[in-house]
Symmetry: C2
Subunit: 501 residues, 2 copies
């Protein structure tokens, strides 16, 4: 009785979707609108809604329904995918003991606060016991969820469902091997940081420009917002309500524009979910890596391209006038693609960025494989920076303590940034081939054919397939590092007039 | 075991407070931030949270706890007040059949949409069947809740707990009797609408000014916000998070400032709730009338006073420059207090406003007493306007269809506006007497002693007492129309140089 089980499932999906929308809005508001003194109630209110969500998701009645559905061979592909994704969510909600969920939530809150202080004071020892606890509990969580290959699979699966460590590790190994010499050549050829980075008009003026820009590339402002915040992010509050943010205090206009392009990639993805799946859990990206692919594609492949510089420059001049000064498309293109060795991941360009991620992935793997102790992390970090980037941090603030991820128990997240990079390059190359190129259109600010291709191939597929399967369906082959390496060689070869061995 | 029952009550109060905060935020966001295409999910998401709230409030386990508490004589006054308010809420949640709750919610949504169209087209017959249904269901609801004196008591009690129709009717009768001749004298003396009403700088500039102004009179911007919206309102999302709004498209600066003062009255009340009661249902106003007293007090008694005009004018000049033009405190004071006969309640001045409310109260009573049919409302409206204000609407748009209240099933709400007016005048008079006057301070923009008095006498009392009891505690006497009539006679006697018989 598939139809019957499917019918009985609907009110449960509705309630889960409604709670999820409310949780999303509370989070958005907390970061964008909430007055500071509202934080205590907000934290508790969010947690209460999350508890309700969890109790609904782990309801045995839902488990029975899922089993019924999974045993039914008459389901259509949307129904089958829904049952598969729900099964995954249900298992995660029921397999992890409540005490462990609470312990991880508690240590995350505490560790995050300690991390903030430790980072400020460059004091790793202050953070060490908290991180010990985080790592211990995340290993416990991995064991509770279960894994086949190795324990890190479970950590990775939190963010990149169905990905296997052994495969991801192989990609990283190849990427780092090929990227190292290419990056070295580019870094040698790159000059000093361009002046363009010091142009920083007042935030409200940048906001107005970005609102225009993101609408121009296809973001539906009737179905979303763009606001200022401390840390840029994008969130789908619900169908017809996708919200992105840009820095309240950006360091430079060029960063703001890149950040708006990045968040738009995420936001366009969320706006592209099929209307008719609105309450289904498959109206989502199949993985963080696939989500990141869209942000990287719009930020780097479109937003930092030469045609885009030609399109956007006259509009920047019109909007910012003399503040922008005399800039040519060439200047803008060079500025947007400046490459340099930096200690800080979030400031890294697209060439060196994945070297930073490679280091973090290696360290996380070593921690999960019990090959590295938390106490030895700082030394391992500094040595890794030396190895991957050829520079050493002078202190832990700009070293091992720079990222918040570990303090918030986001172990397994970092590799998705690189998977996103690789997916982005492969998808963009494929789109160019399928569409016969679109530089002339981008030069006029028309990204509609590209967006249409992404809507068709990626966005409208939601979580019907795993990220790897979706990618294979589109590309006709396994994900590889080749498109990304080709992209880097082409762009920076042209930019700096260098060639690669 | 009072302590034990009280302890077991706390997690339930926490969850109710958290859900209430989330519901409040979803509502605020819907009106202030949400993109238009998000409305469908938002409506459903809000409704899902409200259903959860209702199910928690009507939980029999909560009922048992309340009974235990109510039977206990060792409770302190805060605990006893909490038990009393909870009992009231629990009874309302359990006495009204679920089908009736759903029916009222459904007809409200439908009637509101039909009302919008009917108002636009001045077509009462379009709205009539919807309103018939609303009135019928609200009478049913009154009977389900129960009443002693007359059926309208239950409708009134929705918004003005513990108030009785017979008492409110007596106040209205006396008010209208005394106000009519006074208003007539003032209307004869008032000249044409001053030019000041046509000054209307761009909304963002008015917003900036209002943010400064409300902070100056005591609104804590670290614990709240002020934003633009279509219909001004104020809402307490939670402790430390009180949000007020002003018109996105105001008709004039003078209206904007009044509106900001009005909403600040509500918002200051919410910000003044005792910290230690944060999760208790008594951290709220005892009635809509008492809440309205605070908005009327700040809007009319402070904001439209001569000392306030002297304080605010230089700041208006500084902020708006030449846009404001050459204005004297006398001009501003006259402009802010201009009196005229208008067909529209929301445009009415403080002299004629309660004549509009008197009409609505009479009509609601007649409907509830089965002395008036919905079909006869338009004629009754026009005749009532003739009687109370001496003018007749040319169409239903500016007549019987002007207010949204009835379409959203807010029958029983209107009289709270007038109760608020009367409370405001009485409280302001008492504050002046207790504090020995404060005009010189207000002239300098210092409202701190007045705010301190309100915090002490009104805000910090929350819902520990009914509105009538709270008022009697503060005033030392029953609420009467005398202070309001004295206020009107004094202000407009001075303004227009008239005397009253």
């Amino acid at each position: 009785m598939a139809t019957d089980a499917w019918q009985r499932l609907q009110p449960k999906l509705t309630e889960l979707a409604d709670l999820s929308s409310a949780i999303g809005l509370l989070g958005w508001d907390e970061h964008v609108m909430m007055p500071p003194k509202g934080s205590e109630r907000r934290a508790r209110s969010s947690s209460t809604l999350q508890t309700l969500y969890h109790s609904r998701l782990s309801d045995p009645e839902l488990g029975t329904l899922i089993d019924e559905l999974q045993g039914d061979t008459s389901l259509d592909d949307v129904q089958a995918a829904t049952a598969r994704v729900l099964k995954r969510e249900y298992d995660r909600a029921t397999k992890i003991p409540k005490e462990l969920v609470r312990a991880i939530a508690e240590v995350s809150t505490r560790a995050f606060h300690v991390w903030q202080q430790a980072k400020e004071e460059s004091d790793f020892q202050l953070f060490e016991p908290q991180l010990e606890e985080v790592v211990r509990l995340k290993k416990e969580e991995a064991d509770a969820i279960g894994w086949e290959g190795e324990r890190y699979d479970a950590a990775l699966d939190n963010f990149e469902p169905d990905a296997k460590t052994v495969e991801v590790e192989a990609l990283f190994t190849q990427l780092l091997e090929e990227l190292q010499p290419v990056a070295a050549t580019i870094l040698d050829a790159a000059g000093p940081r361009p002046d363009l980075f010091s142009i920083n008009p007042e935030p409200d003026k940048q906001l107005t420009f970005c609102r225009w820009l993101v609408a121009r590339i296809g973001f539906d402002m009737e179905a979303g917002r763009l606001d200022l915040t401390s840390h840029p992010f994008s969130i789908g509050v619900g169908p017809g309500d996708v919200r992105q943010t840009i820095w309240r205090n950006p360091a430079s206009l060029i960063d703001t524009v890149s950040s708006a392009m990045h968040e738009s990639g995420h936001a366009l993805y969320d706006q592209g979910m099929p209307e008719e799946w609105r309450d289904l859990p498959i109206a989502d990206a199949p993985s963080m890596g696939m989500h990141e692919s869209q942000s990287r594609l719009w930020e780097n492949h479109v937003g930092r391209s030469r045609p885009f510089a030609e399109f956007v420059l006259p509009h920047l001049k019109e909007h910012f006038g003399t503040e922008l000064g005399m800039t040519t498309p060439e200047d803008l293109h060079r500025g947007a693609n400046h490459v340099e060795r930096t200690l800080i991941r979030t400031q890294a360009d697209e060439v060196t960025y994945n070297l930073h991620i490679g280091l973090r992935f290696e360290l996380e793997l070593a921690l999960f494989r019990d090959e590295l102790k938390v106490a030895d992390l700082p030394d391992a970090w500094d040595a890794g920076m030396e190895k991957h980037l050829g520079i050493r941090p002078a202190n832990h603030t700009e070293g091992v303590l720079q990222d918040m991820h570990w303090s918030t128990a986001y172990l397994g997240y970092f590799p998705t940034y690189t998977l996103g990079t690789l997916y982005a390059a492969a998808l963009f190359e494929k789109a160019q081939a399928d569409l016969g190129g679109f530089d002339d259109e981008v030069r006029k600010g028309d990204c509609s054919r590209l967006l249409g291709w992404l809507r068709d191939k990626v966005h409208s597929q939601g979580w019907k397939y795993s990220a790897a399967d979706l990618s294979r369906n589109i590309l006709g082959e396994e994900l590889s590092v080749a498109p990304f390496i080709r992209h880097i060689k082409t762009r920076y070869g042209e930019l700096y007039g260098v060639s690669f061995g």
